[in-house]
């Protein structure tokens, strides 16, 4: 090996060793452990083949969590991206008070999810909560928003949208600012309406950003369960249990790590599928300048 090659590897080595230990090895370990029972009191875990996966197929909470996660993603991603675009367009325009608006939209991003979940918990509280006070003002019946299986997932989705939209707005803002002003001037000269200009010029130029944001949003919808732990603990009746929350419960409340590994394999497969879709899509649909 040449001197440069040796230097290259030496520079890479510290980071790569940590990555191998805490990312690559655990991925392989998850797969390996998913075929084993949970180790008990110092004994090595016996090979059980597909037993954990058979348990999973019969586990209603798993299916419920998977569906919840899908609805959660479908509820969170399109709405937070649409809101982010609208926010970015507003903040980027000559609107009065736009500095204030940017601060209002972005603030949820810098706050800990766990802290804001506490605030939202109070917001949704029956009888005392702000939401309740507001609805009773209009003579609507009292509701337990987080205690009702029909509304709990919706509440959790609202919190996620609130937390993420401002974060995504920043990326759109950066993209909007890189669009040359001459394009808007040309469109105005041609008499193009604002909607037309957005549809045919701005939106296509935002495509790479949308893809980047989309990938982030998908990862976050599987990764972020802090607010579930604070607000609902997966309840009522597993109505807000997401996949990672179920893994957390199985692994660290029931200490069934063998089964938790099998559940993690499903989560990893979903993330890998998202990655593959992204690259296939990136190749074809998006043209970077």
């Amino acid at each position: 090996m040449s001197r440069a090659a040796v230097h290259g590897w030496l520079l890479l080595l510290p980071a790569f060793a940590l990555l191998a230990l805490f990312t690559h090895w655990p991925v392989l370990g998850t797969l390996w452990d998913s075929f084993h029972a949970t180790p008990r009191a110092g004994h090595a875990a016996p090979w059980v083949g597909l037993e954990n996966y058979q348990v999973m197929v019969a586990d209603e909470v798993f299916w419920r969590s998977l569906w919840n996660n899908l609805w959660y993603a479908l509820g969170t991603i399109p709405l937070s991206i649409a809101l982010a675009i609208v926010m970015a367009l507003w903040v980027n325009s000559a609107m009065a008070g736009r500095t204030w608006l940017r601060m209002a939209f972005f603030t949820p991003t810098v706050l800990p999810m766990i802290a804001v979940a506490n605030i939202w918990l109070f917001f949704f509280t029956p009888q005392y909560g702000l939401l309740e006070q507001f609805t009773t003002l209009f003579g609507m019946p009292s509701r337990n928003w987080l205690g009702n299986p029909d509304t709990a997932l919706g509440c959790v989705i609202v919190v996620a949208i609130w937390k993420e939209a401002g974060f995504f707005m920043i990326f759109y803002l950066a993209a909007l600012q890189s669009i040359p002003p001459s394009l808007a001037e040309a469109a105005a000269l041609e008499g193009a309406s604002r909607g037309y200009y957005f549809r045919r010029v701005v939106f296509p130029l935002l495509m790479p950003t949308t893809l980047f944001v989309l990938v982030n949003a998908v990862i976050n919808s599987f990764r972020l369960v802090d607010h579930i732990i604070v607000m609902t603990r997966g309840g009522p009746n597993n109505a807000t249990s997401l996949l990672l929350f179920h893994i957390y419960q199985v692994g660290f409340s029931f200490w069934d790590t063998g089964y938790a590994a099998a559940l993690t394999v499903v989560l990893l497969a979903l993330l890998a599928a998202a990655a593959i879709l992204q690259f296939a899509f990136l190749e074809r649909k998006v043209h970077y300048q």
Partner: protein, 276 residues
């Protein structure tokens, strides 16, 4: 962008501005609500009267009810440790990917990028086992270790280092500088804004991180504020919302104050970190 293309004129403009302000107000409302509850006596926590007396008693009670000073220290140590390690490791690795040719480089880079998709947050079961084998459960390094080699940081610095003109690099080499000296004297100074951007993103991520620290710690000596807040608000505090919101604001305060003071830098940093 010219104002005419950005906003309609007349009534439409007023309507749209009103809609934007309404959304902005809705967005900040939960926080305003928290401020109201935290700074007023409990009997006003859900009653809104203009002249309700202000108080700091809720903060005092929260501060005394749990070892928050220790939690703050833990969080501070965690964030500092993670950021310091990330800066060193990602700089070295980013430099290797940007300016060195070595066998296996493509594969190594692909393996690094795996972490962008599969973050340590989802590998909690296996990483817990690893920490248990290493015998460092319930310690601050155990919280930070999985995040120290950050694929995001490596990628960001690689992109930045690639934009440094080769001539600068070669000029330094001609003068007899070693690879590490070139890195330190030429590349690092030129990447300063990127370091600031990455630092802000990393600090806010790790100050806010919750699930992994919750799993891997179980004593006052290692819990960061996020976990401390959860332990505090779920144990017996039940319905004392004034104290809980005071504690909540306390734990968010360092980032919130930092954000309000350095708003422009924060926003620009997040922008910079997002452009790949």
């Amino acid at each position: 962008m010219t104002p005419s293309a950005a906003l309609p004129q007349g009534a439409g403009r007023i309507l749209e501005t009103a809609a934007a302000w309404l959304l902005g107000f809705l967005w900040i409302l939960p926080l305003l609500y928290a401020f109201w509850t935290a700074f007023h006596p409990p009997e006003f926590s859900t009653r809104f009267e203009l002249l309700a007396p202000l108080t700091l008693a809720n903060f005092e009670r929260a501060w005394q009810a749990a070892p928050f000073a220790r939690y703050f220290l833990n969080s501070f140590l965690l964030v500092t440790m993670v950021l310091a390690a990330q800066l060193v490791l990602c700089t070295l690795a980013g430099y290797a990917f940007a300016r060195f040719e070595f066998p296996g480089k493509e594969v190594a880079f692909a393996l690094v990028l795996v972490q962008l998709m599969i973050m340590p947050d989802v590998l909690i079961v296996e990483n817990y086992r690893t920490m248990s084998r290493l015998g460092i459960l319930d310690s601050i390094p155990a919280i930070g270790l999985p995040y120290m080699a950050s694929a995001f940081g490596i990628f960001l610095l690689r992109q930045t280092f690639k934009t440094v003109p080769r001539e600068l690099d070669e000029a330094a080499r001609v003068e007899g500088a070693s690879a590490l000296q070139v890195l330190w004297k030429v590349y690092v100074p030129l990447a300063r804004p990127v370091y600031l951007a990455y630092g802000l993103v990393s600090v806010s991520y790790h100050w806010n991180n919750f699930l992994w620290p919750l799993i891997v710690t179980n004593s006052v000596g290692s819990r960061p504020v996020t976990v401390g807040l959860q332990v505090f608000s779920s144990a017996d505090q039940g319905i004392d919302w004034s104290v809980i919101t005071a504690a909540t604001l306390m734990t968010s305060a360092p980032l919130l104050v930092g954000f309000l003071l350095f708003q422009r830098q924060f926003v620009q940093s997040f922008m910079r970190a997002g452009i790949r």
